[in-house]
């Protein structure tokens, strides 16, 4: 009979329509901004800098090696190294700007950073009305604490913390015999306070 195909289709549509009132599978709409979807742990939006401890300046892990600036494909990171009065390079960035209108969230800066200093944030509600200055994020807004990082990416942060602690312990273990040598020639080496 001509029209059976369309009637079958109408039955499907009616089932979806009726189901959208009580079946959760047919109710995919989330009423943003009253409801927000819980983002998965791995999701990424734009980078941020991690600092350990309380002080964003002293605890900043970034040493301004400029590897992320070089590897960034659209070249949206801008770093100026901090130099003291004599011109000697300090291991600290004076400016660290990211142009968020250029950044494409590719995460390559995170992958190549040897110091785990830059990680991906999850906040995406960054809209502003100034096209250039509003979307150029400076070091002060980029630096967020390690506790914040642990809050947004728990498994990643755990792994990073474990790795950094292991490296620190290894570095200290190597420093121990070097420090104990000039102290005393006695065979029982003085334990260095950990």
């Amino acid at each position: 009979m001509l029209g059976t195909g369309m009637i079958k289709g109408m039955v499907e549509t009616a089932r979806n329509f009726a189901g959208s009132y009580f079946e959760p599978e047919r109710m995919p709409t989330i009423e943003y901004p009253d409801e927000r979807q819980k983002l998965p742990e791995n999701s990424r939006s734009f980078p941020f800098l991690v600092f350990d401890g309380e002080d964003p300046e002293k605890g900043l892990r970034c040493v301004a090696c400029k590897i992320c600036e070089k590897e960034c494909p659209p070249q949206c990171i801008y770093i100026i190294l901090e130099r003291d009065e004599k011109g000697k390079a300090q291991k600290h960035p004076r400016t660290f700007d990211i142009d968020v209108s250029v950044c494409m969230s590719c995460q390559i800066c995170v992958e190549v950073c040897p110091f785990d200093a830059i990680k991906m944030d999850t906040s995406f509600e960054l809209s502003t009305d100034d096209r250039f200055e509003g979307l150029l994020i400076h070091k002060s807004s980029l630096a967020k604490s390690n506790d914040y990082y642990r809050g947004i990416h728990p498994t990643e942060a755990e792994e990073v913390d474990a790795r950094l602690a292991a490296e620190k312990a290894k570095a200290e273990a190597k420093a121990k015999p070097v420090a104990a040598k000039p102290a005393t020639p006695a065979p029982a080496a003085k334990p260095v306070p950990a």
Binding site: P40, N42, I108
Partner: protein, 417 residues
Amino acid sequence: MSEQLQEPDLVPPHPPGWTEEKVADGFSVPATPSEQPGFQISQRAEVRPGLEGEYLEVAIGPHHPSTHGVFRMDAVLDGERVMKLKPVFGYLHRNHEKIAEMTTYLGSMPYTDRLDYFCSLTNNWAYALTVEKLAGLQVPERAEYIRVITAELTRLLNHVCLIGFLTHDMGALGTPLMYAFREREKILDLFESLTGARMMCNYMRFGGCRVELPSGWLEAVRLLVDGFPRFLDEFDNLLSTNEIILARTQGVGILSAAKAINSSVTGPMLRASGVNYDIRKVDHYGIYDRFSFRVPLGDHGDVYDRYMIRVLEMRESLEILKQALRDIPGGPIIDPKAKLRNFKPKVGEAYGRIESPKGELGFYIISDGSANPYRYRVRPPSMINLTILEDMCLGHTVADTVVILGAVDIVMGEVDR
């Protein structure tokens, strides 16, 4: 009273005064290659005697809700029938190939996401495959399985959305499209929990994948794969026997097998014309020879066959996914010899290709030993499938043209790069 019927003017192939040179203020559609010796077209545009009129040159696009992105067709119409049709694109040309000559190999990987922005993971895989061919890197087994799983999920979401867009072009105004997008959202959520981004995934690396699967991801994929056939049955019920779709797509845009091969058409469009050429079966790239799946072929080469091929391919993708989820081993994710920074492959060239959901996506890379490629070329399936658009549309109405274009499945990011 006898009325002398006026003998209709015999309309020449081109209207009088038409020249093939570019007209300064308007556009003039150049000659069809079919009018040159050596080409044959499959259908002659029919003009019923007594009803010839002036030809109308019109540009369909680039601003048009029915074309897939910024795409223009310069058409010469006689009433509603198409006499000539020239596709014009280049509105989204970003010169990705030149940017890649100035960026490192790793830095081009996020840009490949944006080629066929609908299916980003297959683009990543094609590029990673070519560079692995060029540099001789080995991919571990677990990474191969993950690549197959993500590629088949991408094929699912591309085909289901294509059917949605095709029915949207036919006037269904979004209902099948919204059902398709419901399923696409589920797959995009999976991609977000794996790679971090929904569409621009940037997940494959040279020698493997970027990051290990999060816990519970495989179970989520299993749930999706178990629930998908029910959705496909619903979709089939809704669309495949619908009289409107049958009337509008059967017999429209017929493409013969010989013509398709000569025009370098690949992908579901080629298989709808009856040619058994699926790069997964021919090249055995990755580990596709471990999975048993069938390749659906069409009989007529019209739009309905292209639609049906995609539905059947989705079912085959589900088969592959079930087998891959069952067999995935443990192990490393990336080749230990692969380097992230200062990656300099040896001098030489390589051409690697995969079966992307749109057709054959190939990358041709010439390396000169430095950190940037010397020549980087993307072989775009969407652009090459458009070669034959004119021949398929001749003699059809404008409404059919829209349907035929919808079934070719183009994405402008890939056509223009």
